[in-house]
């Protein structure tokens, strides 16, 4: 299988994501340039963290118009795996591939720290290899991660099993204190109805080696790989 990591001008987690796939997961991976309307045969396209085009406007608002994102939208509609991390999540919201919007963090400050997130759903390729309710220790680093949608829309997400991660304490309890940014219902990551497009604020690529103080993020990469190897067998 093959991963593609998009580089927008201002992406700054593109290399980290590339390195996680290439050196830790040991899978094939290529950078995808924002001006190229070419996914280079990727099975999984990752939109990495950073500040695409500077993000001086609303985060992700410019990136959604880039040639590569047009291809990503097509690819998603055809069932390809699209995974937005942090800024990538924000871009997917702007592109309409995922529902909802990001507000500024509740404290109006950038936050970088390790947080705990609970796996809310395992009915998708990103978390199929994990356990329902499993707690993962993965860092966040963002100013705009306060996920919001109308309460009735959030109900829809729940009904369709689209809420993938929620912020929790180390025991897995969903509490106000464990919500770092004010996200609605502690939501940290979601997927689309068809469960092939994912967005999450925490950075799994930052938690793939002991030297980085957690390997929980690697489990998500492995889950996706397992999905593709199962598919290859079928």
């Amino acid at each position: 299988m093959k991963f593609g990591v998009v580089t927008f001008p201002g992406s700054n987690c593109d290399y980290d994501t590339y390195a996680a796939v290439r050196h830790i997961l040991s899978e094939e991976v290529e950078f995808l340039w924002h001006l190229d309307a070419d996914l280079k045969g990727s099975d999984v396209v990752i939109l990495p963290g950073g500040f695409s085009y500077g993000d001086y406007l609303r985060t992700g608002a410019i990136a959604r118009f880039s040639p590569i994102v047009k291809e990503v939208i097509k690819f998603a509609r055809e069932g390809g795996t699209v995974w937005g991390i942090c800024n990538g999540f924000q871009i997917l919201l702007e592109a309409g591939l995922l529902p909802g919007a990001m507000l500024r963090n509740k404290g109006l400050r950038f936050i970088c720290r390790y947080v705990n997130i609970r796996v809310e759903s395992v009915g998708n390729r990103l978390t199929a290899g994990l356990n329902q309710g499993q707690v993962l220790r993965i860092p966040i680093a963002h100013s705009d991660g306060n996920y919001y949608d109308y309460p009735e829309k959030i109900e829809k997400l729940k009904e369709n099993d689209q809420i993938v991660f929620r912020y929790c304490d180390s025991e897995g309890n969903i509490t106000a204190e464990s919500n770092p940014n004010g996200s609605f219902d502690n939501i940290a990551g979601i997927c689309n109805r068809d469960k092939n497009v994912f967005g999450m604020m925490p950075h799994p690529e930052r938690a793939v080696e002991n030297v980085l103080n957690s390997t929980d993020g690697l489990k998500l990469f492995e889950s996706i790989r397992a999905y593709y190897s199962r598919r290859a067998v079928v």
Partner: protein, 744 residues
């Protein structure tokens, strides 16, 4: 705009002395025009010329160890770390602008130091910052801190460099004149370091990156004056930062270097086009002719004076290889940045500036630059009279507190001691996925990809110490930074320094500067940590508050871990581990945080420092760590043993564990607990290794004592201290955010 006529009066207004004015006229053989006056005044400003400091700085050890480039030769010093790699690092101040416009000032401080790093072909891998602000009870101090932290965060976070550490102290001497010292670290193949030089007659000269505006004109001159009522009007001298453009500039610059399209690259920081053209010409023993009509400008009608002196950010001067012009421009086009050829290298040693076909300035490069013809002064020194009075102190005269629990809690919540998470959680300290020991401990540790190695970084300086005893204070700053990297498992390798002082024309101030540099040099020679370079910031005086900042010679230390698995953290790990104190505790509460916070006293001499003893203890601690015998190691600093123990208990928020200490005290309990005696470490070890550790320490002739065990959820010291960790947490973690979030 009609250019004013140049005469002595205008020269004086530009900050030149009469002697300097006459010298300029003599060099040129004529009265300069307005543009040339601007060029001379900015190049001979304190900020660019180091005229009052360079003679003293030259006494610092600038060679030896693994140093590849000597201090001052390039934009930043480089240290060979083996495996074919070099580390480039430097610290620089952005103090004066911060007093006026903290957000942009701090942001562009980061931007400037990052450019110094990648201009050499190195990719920035870490940033640190050393900050000094007034007491947070003042709204102004909170406003400045809030702005500076946001500025540092927004710039570094967007650019994509992890801000991994630093330090901050709060004291009212910094209220009107805060200090923002930004440090950046980059990594480069040892044979791939690019020089800021112009060579080869006919080679093309490009200006790349942002366009040139009217911002920052005379920023360097502004930095060379005291802060006064007029300072507010200098707001236009503060530059505006654009981290997105900087990120593009980084990628494009590294790409042209990798493709071997360049002869030399230099950042445009202070004094913009002026400084970069003259310095590059001088380094290459060449000259340059440039046509500033080709410089992309932000506004119509900019006169040569403005274009030459603008400090617009995110620009570089690139000397390309003839014939590679198209390829070079193609790279910048890919990254969406302008790259315009504005001239070429010449062999006449002159920087010749023309606009619309007319020569508007013609100046000799050599005479303008530091190390060339820029003035060099040795200022008058006089030992300040306050020293004797302030050092005259009897520790026993300090009343002994009734409740040491409360004393410890009060000290723990003093902002200079309290946890700085409110600050560093606003900085992305993990991007580039190499940070392994996060901010908050003794030193930050990063792994070096594709090798076994690691790098540790710490910044340190206790300004109060340096105010009371500049010589020993600076020695302690070096020693403490070395102790910090040792406590993280690294061997000290080299330093960069940022020397923040008051007006050098005041003999007492210059005495302090001189003494501090001497002390620093002494310590650096002892630890074999040469100075890779740095920055001097004088005139940190606030006329409104009527005082200078404490002499603050900030040290940025780099240490090398031969094996990243030797990395060490400060917090206690497991129940039952033995706690050992290395070093001796003396009656040394002079100049301490304890007497300042609890007794409102700034008195007494700073702690003694014996460099041999310090080095011996550092080596012993490092050997134990490398032998895998240590589970935690923490340096003792402000607040002494009491604070260090509390920190060891609670520093890891996810795994907090108490301790029970029984220690023989030959001093008054408060003095013993809060003495700031140097050369001490607190380590914890698995009790099964007690004998092995003891044998090594004894063998090395180290002073040590087993003082207790890691256990429970309380900090207990003899019958003096008995505190729940939750109480410690509230004070240590909550103090700064309570001050900042309630009232800003």
């Amino acid at each position: 705009m009609k250019e004013p006529e140049v005469n002595l009066e205008l020269g004086l207004q530009h900050g030149l002395s009469e002697e300097e004015y006459n010298r300029m006229v003599e060099i040129l053989g004529r009265v300069p025009n307005y543009t040339e006056l601007g060029i001379f005044s900015v190049m001979w400003s304190e900020h660019c010329s180091y005229k009052n400091s360079i003679a003293v700085l030259k006494t610092l050890p600038r060679e030896g160890g693994a140093l590849l480039t000597k201090a001052g030769e390039e934009n930043a010093g480089a240290v060979d770390i083996g495996d074919g790699l070099a580390v480039v690092f430097k610290i620089e101040s952005h103090n004066h602008p911060t007093a006026v416009e903290p957000y942009q000032a701090a942001a562009t401080g980061i931007g400037g130091i990052l450019r110094d790093i990648f201009t050499m072909g190195a990719r920035p891998i870490a940033a640190l910052n050393s900050l000094r602000f007034g007491d947070l009870k003042h709204p102004r101090a909170r406003y400045l801190l809030d702005g500076a932290v946001r500025g540092i965060g927004d710039y570094g976070n967007s650019f994509g460099v992890p801000t991994v550490g630093g330090e901050i102290y709060f004291d009212d001497c910094y209220l009107g004149n805060p200090l923002v010292n930004a440090m950046a670290v980059g990594i480069v193949k040892s044979d791939g370091i690019v020089s800021g030089t112009a060579k080869g007659t006919g080679n093309p000269v490009f200006i790349v990156g942002s366009s040139t505006g009217r911002d920052g004109i005379h920023g360097a001159t502004f930095a060379s004056e005291e802060i006064s009522e007029k300072t507010e009007s200098k707001r236009p001298s503060v530059q505006i930062g654009d981290p997105f453009t900087e990120k593009l500039l980084l990628e494009a610059t590294l790409e042209i270097i990798k493709k071997e399209l360049v002869i030399g690259v230099q950042d445009m920081g202070a004094a913009g086009i002026t400084c970069s053209t003259t310095e590059m010409s001088d380094r290459g023993g060449a000259g340059m002719k440039i046509d500033i009509s080709k410089v992309p400008v932000r506004e119509e009608g900019m006169i040569p004076y403005e274009i030459m002196l603008s400090e617009s950010q995110e620009r570089m001067l690139v000397v390309g290889k003839k014939g590679s012009e198209d390829e070079l421009q193609e790279v910048f086009k890919k990254w969406g940045l302008p790259a315009l050829q504005i001239g070429e290298v010449t062999d006449d040693g002159l920087v010749t500036v023309s606009q619309n076909g007319e020569v508007v300035a013609k100046v000799p490069a050599y005479d303008l630059v530091l190390g060339g013809g820029a003035p060099v002064y040795e200022r008058e020194r006089k030992r300040p009279s306050y020293l004797d009075e302030i050092r005259d102190f009897d520790a026993d005269s300090v009343p002994q507190p009734d409740d040491l629990n409360q004393t410890l809690l009060n000290l723990l919540s003093a902002p200079s001691i309290a946890n700085k998470g409110w600050i560093y959680h606003q900085y992305d300290h993990m991007v580039r996925t190499s940070t392994t020991v996060f901010p908050g401990g003794d030193a930050a540790v990063l792994r070096v990809r594709k090798t076994r190695k690691g790098l540790a970084f710490s910044t340190d300086c206790n300004g109060r110490y340096c105010y009371i005893n500049p010589h020993r204070g600076a020695m302690i700053a070096v020693s403490e930074s070395a102790r910090n990297v040792v406590a993280s498992g690294a061997k000290p390798a080299a330093i960069t320094n940022c020397l923040n002082f008051g007006n050098p024309y005041k003999p007492e101030m210059f005495w302090c500067f001189y003494e501090a540099v001497m002390g620093m040099g002494e310590a650096c020679r002892k630890f074999n940590t040469p100075v890779t370079g740095g920055n001097v910031s004088f005139y940190n005086e606030d006329q409104i508050g009527g005082r200078a900042v404490y002499p603050t010679p900030t040290i940025g230390m780099m240490g090398i871990l031969e094996d990243i698995d030797h990395r060490m953290t400060s917090h206690f790990k497991d129940e039952g581990d033995a706690v050992i104190l290395i070093g001796r505790t003396h009656n040394e509460i002079g100049a301490s945080e304890y007497i300042r916070v609890i007794h409102d006293l700034i008195k007494g001499d700073v702690p003694e420092l014996d460099l041999d003893y310090e080095q011996k203890n550092q080596e012993a601690a490092l050997e134990l760590i490398k032998a895998g015998l240590v589970k935690s190691c923490h340096d003792l600093a402000e607040g002494g043993l009491g604070i260090a123990l509390a920190e060891c208990c609670i520093m890891d928020r996810e795994n907090q564990i108490g301790c029970r200490i029984d220690i023989g005290m030959d001093l008054r309990p408060d003095i013993f607990l809060f003495s700031e005696s140097q050369s001490r470490f607190l380590i914890s070890i698995d009790p099964k290794n007690n004998d092995a550790v003891e044998k090594r320490l004894k063998g090395a002739g180290i002073d040590y004592s087993f003082i207790g065990h890691v256990q429970g959820k309380k900090l207990v010291i003899n019958d003096l201290i008995d505190l729940e960790l939750s109480e410690l947490n509230d004070k240590w973690y909550g103090s700064i955010s309570r001050l900042m979030e309630q009232q800003v």
